[in-house]
Amino acid sequence: MTISSLIDSPSELTDATGSKTAIVLMTRVRLARNLSGNPFPGWAKPAQREEILATCREAVAAAAPMKRGLSVTLDELSELERQILVERHLISRELSGTKAGAGVVISRDQAISVMINEEDHLRIQVLRSGFQLKKTWTAIDELDSALEERLDYAFSPTLGYLTACPTNLGTAMRASAMMHLPALVIASQMEKVVRAVNQLGMVVRGLFGEGSDASGSIFQISNQTTLGESEEGIIKRLGSVLNSIIEHELNARQKLLEADPNKIYDKIGRAFGILQNGHVLSSSEAMNLLSLIRLGVDLGVFPDTNRSVIDRLLIEAQPGHLQHAQRGVCEPGQRDLIRAGLLRGEFANFTKPNFNSSAAGPN
């Protein structure tokens, strides 16, 4: 598989069938692994990095789920291609910034990616749309066991899998869910949620991980600690935290509708108007508008089938995807015009909002 055929085929995230779970957009588990007796990527010399890259690439590409997938080194990828992979959550921003001796292997269905020589020798990731923590863990556990047949992992009986950063020791696992929480944001309750979640040993981040903002009311919730608890224990704990966040979001929606339905319908209606008629839309404004339409779908203002369209647009309206569709790199100002054009086109034939048949009853 080549990078261009990968980019042109739908990602796990844009796959319409997976969009049934409204609040959890996607589930992700990643494992950090290192080869014993080798310096970590940040400390390895260029020649050592190349050697580790070659060893890992060979072993990963040979694993069954990665057959006929994409295996590339980062220097084979253009700036734009890297950006698209970041927007699809297939590589991290950190990896996209490395110059030499790094690579990535991506499965054909874009559900699995293995980054090589990021912070650790291997960063194995499995991604599933919707709320599927256990399935995602099972899939990554199998792949990891298969890789272990070929690679000697650095492991200590007391500290677990040895990682470049001590914060990842132990299971070296980060399980996360991407959640759409518009009502909690509108009701200004996110800060409270973040604090409560932190106390439970989980972290809340923006869409693209550390330091990214939460435009579109999309948040990533993941485990903070990795040592002293089994993978299953972490998964179970995260699952119950996610369920309780879902409950809070649903309650917040109910409260908003009860207190002042016009306020929320006005937001959704205006978002629809701008998406249909706007001419200049920044990435973050587009995300926020699409997020409101998605909330509209959840509330019954738009038919359920439209949710997958929104989920696709949330990715296609990102700078990298937009420029790829235009077949060329362009300035941010130019991009805002193109983005508005794309969305005007998509929303010209979009089902009209129906505020009367919505979940909360006629208004």
């Binding site: 290192n34 310096p39 970590f40 066991s145 047949e149 200590s156 899998y161 020791l169 040592l227 002293g228």
Partner: protein, 168 residues
């Protein structure tokens, strides 16, 4: 490129920098906001730097003699700068540095999750083979031929199980 100092207690960037003079000695600590709060640094009435230094088992400025990882040449100063280690062996070399950090960093200090049993079994088999081969050489050298024959049989056995099930 700016390389921000790491917190002395965890690995987040340090934003609170504290200098105190106790008994004519300069003590310095760099902390992130959370740790600073947790240790009461932001509350001047209840804070003693001495306690903190004691807890974090940090030494005052002229630091302990620089330990160096023989495998990769990594030093404690490198860790302070990057918050990352150089290689897996660093965890043994710098264990006294890491151990006090783990408690505040993680839920527990002992791994209870998945074990790469295949890789470990392969390694132990490999180690056993190496040991047997040394034994064999020595047995031959000291003319203990019975021992040598037995060791050779054992080597063949190990090699055989390697060949059939390389993963176990």
């Amino acid at each position: 490129m700016a390389n921000p100092l790491k917190c002395d207690l965890c690995t987040k960037p340090a934003t609170v920098h504290l200098t105190q003079i106790v008994n004519n000695k300069v003590h310095k600590v760099d902390l992130c906001e959370q740790c600073a709060q947790a240790k009461g640094v932001t509350d001047p009435s209840g804070f003693s730097l001495a306690d903190l230094l004691l807890k974090a088992s940090l030494n005052p400025e002229p630091a302990a003699p620089a330990v160096r990882c023989e495998q990769c040449g990594f030093t404690q100063a490198d860790f302070k700068k990057t918050g990352r280690f150089g290689c897996p062996a660093c965890y043994d070399v710098f264990s006294s540095l890491i151990e006090p950090m783990l408690d505040s960093m993680h839920k527990g200090v002992v791994h209870t999750g998945k074990v790469p049993s295949k890789a470990l079994a392969r390694k132990s088999l490999h180690d056993r083979l190496t040991k047997l081969e040394t034994d064999l050489t020595e047995a031959i050298k000291s003319e203990r031929y019975e021992d040598a024959a037995r060791t050779r049989d054992e080597i063949n056995q190990v090699k055989h199980s390697f060949g059939q099930k390389p993963s176990r």
